[in-house]
């Protein structure tokens, strides 16, 4: 069981960039861990810190008004590149619970849902308006209501969003997807038996 995803109101953090890749979210040298925790320190490392390790004061995550933010608002194709789930773990470890963008890479989107992180997809014009509002008045709050599939912006603007019904249930109830799938074990067994008959060459085992 994971922690269920509940509605919340939190500061929105604008990251007005497109094609944010997972190497930028968490550089490879931080992936040398065998744990899921503690990755927040590497989050956006090259953008948060300069070459001497000092915070870049103008990067949104470093600005006092945005500290403690839980909703990251970004531009198109967010999370592209490497499949590293560490990108989601780093965002969550830092405190984020939701990302808002016009589009995501497929793998990053999947990785969010497996970890109780909500990827909200909104039309580009609405994301643009949210970014502009959060940039113009730093510290603005965003309210997310997953059950009602609705996001409220800092000016009270309401944005309904779509989400796959099963993913929504999993998030709201904190379900363990593997346990659910294992309840279909008999079907997997049956499939495997039939497949083995049809294409026996695919069942040559690798010697362990």
């Amino acid at each position: 069981m994971r922690e269920p995803f509940t509605s919340f109101v939190a500061v929105g953090v604008p990251l007005d960039r497109g094609n944010v890749d997972t190497d930028a979210i968490i550089p490879a040298r931080f992936l040398k861990t065998i744990k899921r925790t503690g990755l927040g320190e590497g989050l956006f490392f090259a953008w948060r810190y300069d070459a001497e390790g000092k915070e870049r004061p103008d990067f949104p995550l470093n600005r006092p008004e945005y500290r403690g933010g839980k909703v990251l608002v970004a531009w198109e194709n967010f999370g592209c590149g490497s499949s590293r789930e560490h990108a989601v773990w780093a965002l969550m470890d830092f405190g984020f619970r939701a990302v808002v963008a016009p589009s995501y890479s497929d793998i990053f989107h999947n990785n969010c849902l497996k970890n109780g992180m909500l990827p909200v997809t909104l039309p580009a014009a609405e994301v643009r308006a949210l970014l502009d509002a959060l940039l113009a008045a730093p510290g603005g709050k965003v309210e997310i209501d997953l059950a009602g599939q609705s996001l409220k912006g800092p000016k009270g603007d309401v944005h309904p969003f779509r989400i796959d019904p099963f993913a929504k249930t999993c998030l709201l109830e904190g379900l363990d997807e593997i346990a659910l799938t294992l309840s279909s074990a008999a079907e997997i067994d049956r499939y495997e038996r039939e497949r083995k008959k049809a294409t026996p060459w695919l069942f040559r085992d690798l010697p362990g």
């Binding site: 190497d23 861990t33 065998i34 198109e76 194709n77 497996k114 060459w201 690798l206 010697p207």
Partner: protein, 466 residues
């Protein structure tokens, strides 16, 4: 009616739930970076690995490429990840090509060498470049660590069926124009997010004429166009590659397997959600100038001017990229000097890549001040290259000849760029910091990278090799 993708997909559906399918996974590749948390998750839940015999594990991302690596890995965390992979494999009965195994190499290169990637299979790996393996007419895709755990436990994954795109490439490639140039041109054409939500089948005479190595290069970078899946229909070239490989169908099943494979290619009236056509007959060698793989141009071109772009968001992105890359609009691409050259990675470290680079390096010298690495993709590639004398060609020209691994593709092992260093690289990503913090990457083909090493700057291989 059906596409290659749909035929394979439909045959792997165990059950359905709304729009989702439970997809059976035939083969699973595992490396040291994205698997430890998955194995730990299984242990914590008390779950066994369902089909250990379907899995092959290999350390590749973290391993140094220097000869002393078997005795000593300086970096404690890298060592721990590699040891953890070893323990997890041994503890669950999973096959492992360990660091001293002659077959060790980059995960996407060793799978085909073992013969475990075949037409019609589904194969996954916790790595976005898994799409490489779709070159065999397989459904191969990258997944996250939670999904790795799901596959270990259930041999299945819940998936949404992607949309279908066909990219048809026609015309003969000119000398020194390679499959890498084809895929860079494709990405430049459809954009870094152009394939998001799609499976892309590459078709057309240009693709048909490519070797398996070339096809793998093309499929490898479909993820750089946003698509998790890249596929190419299996044919005689595919079958010839597979015959005799350790895990290829045994003799008594070979004919049945080939008959099965021949039924897989897309039907002539297959349904496509999007079609793209590319003529390759006038294609030039490509290089990237920016920080997205879509920033590719013919080598004869100039660094573009953001002001010339119509869209303000794209202008801002281009300006940021140029600032990071330390480039000025209007600079001739072939006037850009390089500090390092990297020939390797899952994109371009197979035998043909090394042959093509060696042909340019032969009898020439790496320019003074340039450090150039050649990193074979696997122990088997290395052995074959050494058998052909390619290692001597490279070493005599002043290149370093290394042991197999991901090396300088991703800044996770000792091979990385220093801040501000500029690299001509045969890898797949030019993202900020990808090859090391502050490093600057120009993507190109192996012969183009060899030409850059010789010239000390980005160069047109056709002029260097003349």
């Amino acid at each position: 009616m059906a596409t290659l993708f749909a035929k394979i997909w439909d045959r792997h559906v165990v059950t359905r739930r709304g729009e989702d399918v439970l997809l059976y996974v035939d083969r699973h590749l595992v490396h040291e970076v994205t698997s430890p948390q998955a194995f730990e998750g299984l242990r914590l839940a008390g779950r066994p690995v369902r089909r250990p015999g379907s899995i092959l594990a290999v350390p590749d991302h973290n391993v140094p490429t220097t000869p002393d690596r078997a005795e000593r890995i300086e970096d404690r965390e890298s060592r721990e990840q590699i040891e953890t992979l070893r323990k997890n494999a041994l503890g669950t009965g999973v096959a492992l090509y360990d660091i001293t195994d002659p077959r060790q190499g980059i995960v996407h290169i060793i799978g085909p060498e073992a013969g475990l990637v075949q037409p019609g299979v589904t194969i996954v790996c916790g790595d976005s470049h898994t799409g490489t393996l779709g070159a065999f007419g397989a459904i191969a895709f990258g997944i996250g660590t939670s999904e790795v755990e799901h596959v270990l436990a259930t041999q299945t994954l819940w998936q949404k069926t992607p949309r279908q795109m066909r990219i048809t490439v026609t015309g003969s490639l000119r000398p020194f124009v390679t499959p890498k140039d084809v895929i860079l041109a494709v990405i430049a054409r459809i954009g870094a997010a152009g394939g998001t939500g799609y499976a892309i089948e590459f078709a057309g005479e240009t693709i048909r004429r490519m070797s398996m190595e070339g096809r793998m290069t093309v499929c490898n970078m479909t993820i750089e166009a946003g698509a998790r899946f890249g596929l190419i229909a299996p044919d005689e070239i595919t079958f010839a590659y597979l015959e005799g490989r350790p895990l290829a169908p045994p003799q008594e099943q070979w004919d049945a397997a080939v008959a099965y494979w021949k039924g897989l290619p897309s039907d002539p009236d297959g349904a496509w959600d999007r079609e793209v056509a590319l003529s390759a007959s006038s294609l030039e060698p490509h290089v990237t100038w920016g920080t997205s793989p879509q920033d590719a141009l013919p080598v004869g071109g100039y660094v573009p001017d953001p002001a010339a772009h119509a869209e303000p968001g794209e202008q801002a992105r281009m300006r940021r990229a140029l600032e990071y890359m330390g480039l000025t609009p209007g600079t001739k691409l072939t006037d850009i000097p390089v500090d390092k050259v990297f020939i390797g990675s899952c994109t371009n470290a197979r035998i043909e890549d090394l042959r093509a680079a060696a042909a340019v390096a032969k009898g020439r010298k790496v320019a003074p001040g340039v450090t150039a690495l050649v990193v074979p993709g696997s122990g088997l590639v290395k052995r074959q290259a050494e058998g052909e004398g390619l290692d001597r060609v490279f070493v005599e020209a002043g290149f370093q000849w290394r042991l197999p691994g991901c090396s300088m593709c991703l800044g996770m092992n000792p091979d990385k760029l220093k801040p501000g260093e500029r690299c001509a690289s045969t890898s797949n990503r030019n993202f900020e910091g990808r090859q090391g913090p502050g490093g600057r990457t120009h993507l190109m083909s192996p012969p183009m990278a060899a030409a850059a090493a010789v010239a000390g700057r980005i160069a047109d291989v056709r002029e260097v090799a003349r």
